[in-house]
Amino acid sequence: MNLTAIAGIVLVVLAAALMLVFSLVKRKVPPVFRDIPAFSRLRRAIGLAVEDGTRLHFSFGHSSLIVPRSASAFAALGMLRKVAEQTSVSDRPPVVTAGDAALTILAQDTLHSAYRSAAAEGLYDPNAARLTGLTPFSYAAGAIPIMRDEDVSANILMGNFGVEVAFLTDTSERETSFTMAATDSLPAQAIIYATAQEPLIGEELYAAGAYVDAGPSHTASLQVQDILRWLIVAAVLSGVMLKLLGF
């Protein structure tokens, strides 16, 4: 059993334990997180969409479920869950597009359970979550008409995108609709940064749940991330020190 494996176990167990603690322990002062303007603007966009009866469009990227980047899609699903509950008062349920079949099914399930818990099960329409293509480009190309035709006022692009995200952000700019975009892929992040109205950078994607009050576990995740972040910083710093000291 090599060092890496042990360290890995330690890290994972530590993270899990911390998350458990943070999500169970109720504190008087809830943790405060830095302001990410994109999320407050998103809230407003959602509110507006609800009132003027326009739609939200979620797009989850093309990540398969059984690859490391699937986590971005899972984070996006957590957000969909929450937003779907909030928008269950609207008669235009959000439309979800995805470039991976399993992801589409998950989006359907998420919508379904969200409406169920909002006592609005009648809103659930399996066709609200759609597979728009099986290759990255065809997925994006298939999502473009939805963004144009279905009275979408806000696009939330979260998940694993590639270059194709540019088509989505560009379309939404042509439609002058709100766009919040986040992805775990670096080139796509560069595109998003340049083309999307409300880009989220890197890790902020995984904070979405906490910023839409998706529950204590999400908040706990952020706290754990911060702790681990400083662990890494400490590790790097100590490594640098050792190098400078000549070891």
């Binding site: 059993m1 479920l65 399930d109 998420t110 066709n127 270059v163 088509f167 890790e203 999400h218």
Partner: protein
């Protein structure tokens, strides 16, 4: 009652596969590989479900004469034709190859080509959208890297190509990329754990 079952499955599989990563017991590793192999099969089956979803969505559009139903007709026709041909002839048959090369490649390549305009447009508009230091740095970097990527029509610029670009690529960009990757990994870790321990259940429930 199905929810607990699903959750239990998710947690169990998640833990086993996770352990398979870290505890190098051969049996655990092989179990993990087998489980993941099944997952691959499942996602393959899911693709078929997804295609049916794609089909039904557009069929519905046509039936209810929604906006753009005509186009859906094209999609369904193309989908059925390709899929059926693919089943009959097999995906690596020359006809499939022909369809692929005459439809998929040109369209994707053209979309990619249009990206050139889109990106230029975006970088022009960027300062209108967000005029802050970060944006300025971003654009300057783009400019420098581009200058270093291809020589100007009237010959390469000194320094930029052989000093600045490499420095940006190997040092500055590498540092930023590494920081972002680490952050993403942290997010991935916690998000994954939430699911492994059943706090998030995107497969329904809660």
């Amino acid at each position: 009652m199905k929810r607990p079952i699903a959750t239990a499955i998710a947690i169990a599989i998640g833990l086993i596969v996770l352990l398979g990563y870290f505890i190098p017991l051969p049996i655990l590793t092989s179990v993990r590989i087998e489980l993941v192999q099944w997952a691959i099969i499942l996602s393959g089956v899911a693709v078929l479900v997804g295609v049916i979803n794609l089909f039904s969505v557009h069929l519905k559009k046509i039936r209810e004469k929604e906006k753009g139903a005509v186009y859906s007709l094209f999609l369904i026709a193309a989908l059925l034709l390709t899929f059926i041909l693919g089943i009959i002839l097999g995906p690596d048959h020359s006809t499939m190859q022909l369809m692929f090369e005459s439809v998929v490649i040109p369209v994707e390549a053209s979309l990619m080509a249009m990206l050139a305009m889109t990106l230029i447009y975006a970088s022009i508009r960027l300062l209108r959208r967000r005029s802050d230091l970060m944006t300025v740095v971003f654009l300057i970097t783009v400019l420098l890297v581009l200058l270093g990527t291809a020589p100007l029509p009237f010959g390469p610029l000194p320094i930029v190509g052989d000093l600045i670009r490499p420095f940006i690529a190997q040092v500055l960009a590498a540092a930023g990329a590494r920081g972002i990757l680490l952050g993403v990994a942290l997010g991935t870790l916690t998000t994954g754990l939430r699911i492994v321990f059943g706090a998030d259940r995107p497969y329904g429930g809660r």
